[in-house]
Symmetry: C2
Subunit: 437 residues, 2 copies
């Protein structure tokens, strides 16, 4: 068989890792694939470094279009990132009839629908295992392994930076600020960490796997994003005392009313496997009708795991390259003409349990007033503890509710905050049992 | 596209579940696959029941060869089990040019090499996701998702019955006998449970995934099998006090000297995800060079999860059916001509840590004698505690060692048992940190 000819765009951490992987593991890959993979061309701004990494059998350029338009490239591997140059390169490569492998979650979350449409016209594959949860083959599990199921819900720890920060806050009682600094020192957080800690990165990934799970177009613009920067150590401690851990989860669930699509800090029972996922590791839990609950755990980022996912996609491209397009795995797991425009539920309409922390005067009757407000909305209480008397006159009340509509909890919170003896804004964190509903 | 025509052999729990899955989820499957799947024929001893389950569009027979030799069958789904009729049916189907989907781990563990060879000659696929860990897409992960890695080791909880019994013993302090009875009452253990509790079932599965991981033929006959029926609650308690759980693990590891291939009860640190896998659930942890550690968790058995895996395989067959054989995923992940005959290490040559429990006279000097015996073999001690004074004159000593060759620990145990003040045979359980070595 002819070798598969790869054109590589971007030689940063992942690009360099991909070249290194191919150099180190060519033997094992060829033993599996029965065919050679060669990087015929590479483009990057730093020509010197690129030549050093790729060696002299690869044609190097600082113009990505020297790769995109080259006749001796079967697959373009886009590892530039972002949505400007990367988008142009991907779209032009597709028009040139080249298959695409990308690790670019932002590009797919924002322009995936358009890209897949173009790819269908030009009869090429677009593969993106590396875009979600790095080394965990979750895209393959959703597109292929669970293909016989109605998928019901997904909950995932899909941002390693945030999970590291939350792990540090719990293990060492650090504040958010100190844990973030630690993450930056260790290279787990960027100088500007907004993208990771405010949920954007998790939202990109969640939007992609939600579309795959339910057979809809990608809906990133409607994904609710709430990060971890406002979390207080106090709430992590209280949660732990109550048998819960706080994790930044991406949650998507199909309900009769629409799809829930939301990223936010979440209390989960400490007995759940997701609760045990520490540091920068990722894990995705999938609930489906036939298979029940499955969970996939691994490294979410890093040169090795991401390059491994990129290379698995390249291998898949070689397998299905000669298959009729209709036999290939569809871009978003479902045939394009079977995608359904199911609406994303506004946050007011989602269903969740809640953790509430209320600071109030330590006087008889306050608890009763709060309980009455919740009862009026039919919100039942799973646990209620009075905690941490701040001074002689005030106390903290922590409440775990059973599940209810978010609209109702918000109304209740407004009424609780309006009580004369409630001293500061109520802290609200969502809570999930992660049991099938 | 033409519908894919399925011939079903065996309408027991899994067979019935497969028919039901196709009836219930046909919509979702067709949305994904863009093609219909129909069961044209089914064979089972109970014709009445089969007709009731399959309906009138399927031709029913009590002769499996009516399916195996039928012209209107593209894929034969073997859900009979065992190695007699099932083997004949699979081999004849292959000769008839039909693709095979099977859940039969025993058949593959014992005759897989021969079956794959036949299949290659006749240019058909043999798929077996359902044979290992039911609903967990671990075969797909190993054959495709991790294809760019040198896989280093695998450790898995791959027998739900044993894991349920061990979970019961730990949670309720039950004896093995009582926990087994409980498993039988709940339908998790057979009337004759030997196959599950003595490690045969886990050994079948482990042999298959070991071959897939390292690119060797299947070596079930050389797999070390040790079950859980001799485990005492006492050791589960002591392990827990020391921060460990005991699980029946299938472990396979590639070393420069050969491959370790072994099923036995194993102490693992309670912080590991595998330690948290409770009840009948399964989980497989894979260590590979690029990706690091990944873990896959889900139901290991049951009609739904197994049928889900069977159907995923059927869907894969439709995708690669028209691809040239050389483009398909190889039977054992590696091209047949790249399989290597790497020898399986005898148990004396494996490397492990060990838990030892010694009953001895409670007199000064005994501990020293034991420590000296271990030191003489260069076995270092991680922890040593004196426990449970049985009466005034004897005590139990529990020792955790660092890793060493099994030969050396066996020699040491023989010498410890020969000490005049040691009162009964030493209990030895292997221990794994599950950290990369």
């Amino acid at each position: 068989m002819q070798p598969l000819r790869i054109g590589l765009l971007g030689i940063g951490t992942v690009g360099g890792g991909t070249v290194k992987l191919l150099q180190n593991n060519a033997d094992e890959i060829t033993r599996r694939l029965g065919r050679e993979l060669i990087i015929t061309r590479a483009a990057s701004r730093n020509i010197e470094r690129t030549r050093e990494i790729c060696g002299h059998n690869t044609l190097i350029s600082d113009d990505i279009f020297d790769v995109v338009n080259a006749p001796d490239v079967d697959v373009v591997v886009e590892l530039i990132g972002g949505t400007t140059v990367a988008k142009d390169a991907v779209v032009q490569s597709i028009k040139n009839g080249k298959h695409i492998v990308t690790a670019n979650k932002k590009l797919l979350a924002e322009y995936g629908n358009e890209i897949f449409q173009q790819a269908a016209v030009h009869n090429v594959m677009v593969m993106y295992e590396a875009a979600v949860a790095g080394g965990i083959p979750i895209i393959k599990a959703l597109r292929e392994g669970l293909a016989a199921n109605h998928i019901e819900s997904i909950a995932g720890i899909i941002n390693g930076t945030s999970n590291f920060i939350l792990s540090e806050m719990r293990a060492n009682g650090s504040t958010f600020t100190d844990a973030l600094k630690q993450a930056q020192i260790l290279g787990y957080a960027e100088a500007d960490p907004t993208f990771d800690i405010e949920g954007h990165d998790a939202g990109h990934k969640l939007s992609i796997i939600s579309a795959l799970a339910f057979g809809t177009p990608i809906n990133f613009s409607q994904c609710y994003l709430e990060g971890i920067s406002h979390l207080e150590s106090l709430d992590i401690c209280y949660a732990e005392e109550l048998g819960y851990r706080i994790k930044l989860l991406g949650i998507t669930r199909k309900t009769p009313e629409g799809i829930e699509l939301r990223v936010h800090p979440t209390l989960i029972p400490e007995s759940r496997l997701l609760a045990k996922v520490e540091g920068v590791m990722n894990a995705v839990s999938v609930q489906a009708d036939m298979i029940g609950q499955t969970l996939y755990y691994g490294a979410g980022a890093g040169a090795g795991p991401t390059a491994s996912a990129v290379m698995a996609d390249i291998i898949d491209v070689t397998r299905l390259q000669n298959a009729e397009a209709s036999y290939r795995v569809p871009y978003l797991a479902f045939q394009s003409n079977s995608l359904q425009n199911i609406s994303i539920l506004p946050m007011d309409e989602i269903t969740s349990s809640y953790y509430l922390r209320v600071s109030a005067c330590d006087e008889p009757g306050v608890l009763g007033e709060i309980a009455n407000i919740l009862a009026a909305e039919n919100i039942s209480i799973e646990a209620l503890i009075q905690k941490g008397i701040i001074n002689k006159e005030s106390a903290e009340i922590v409440i775990l509710t059973h599940s209810t509509k978010e609209r109702l909890i918000k109304q209740s919170i407004a009424r609780i905050q309006a009580l004369p003896r409630v001293l500061s804004p109520v802290t609200m964190i969502r809570m999930e049992s992660l049991h099938p509903r």
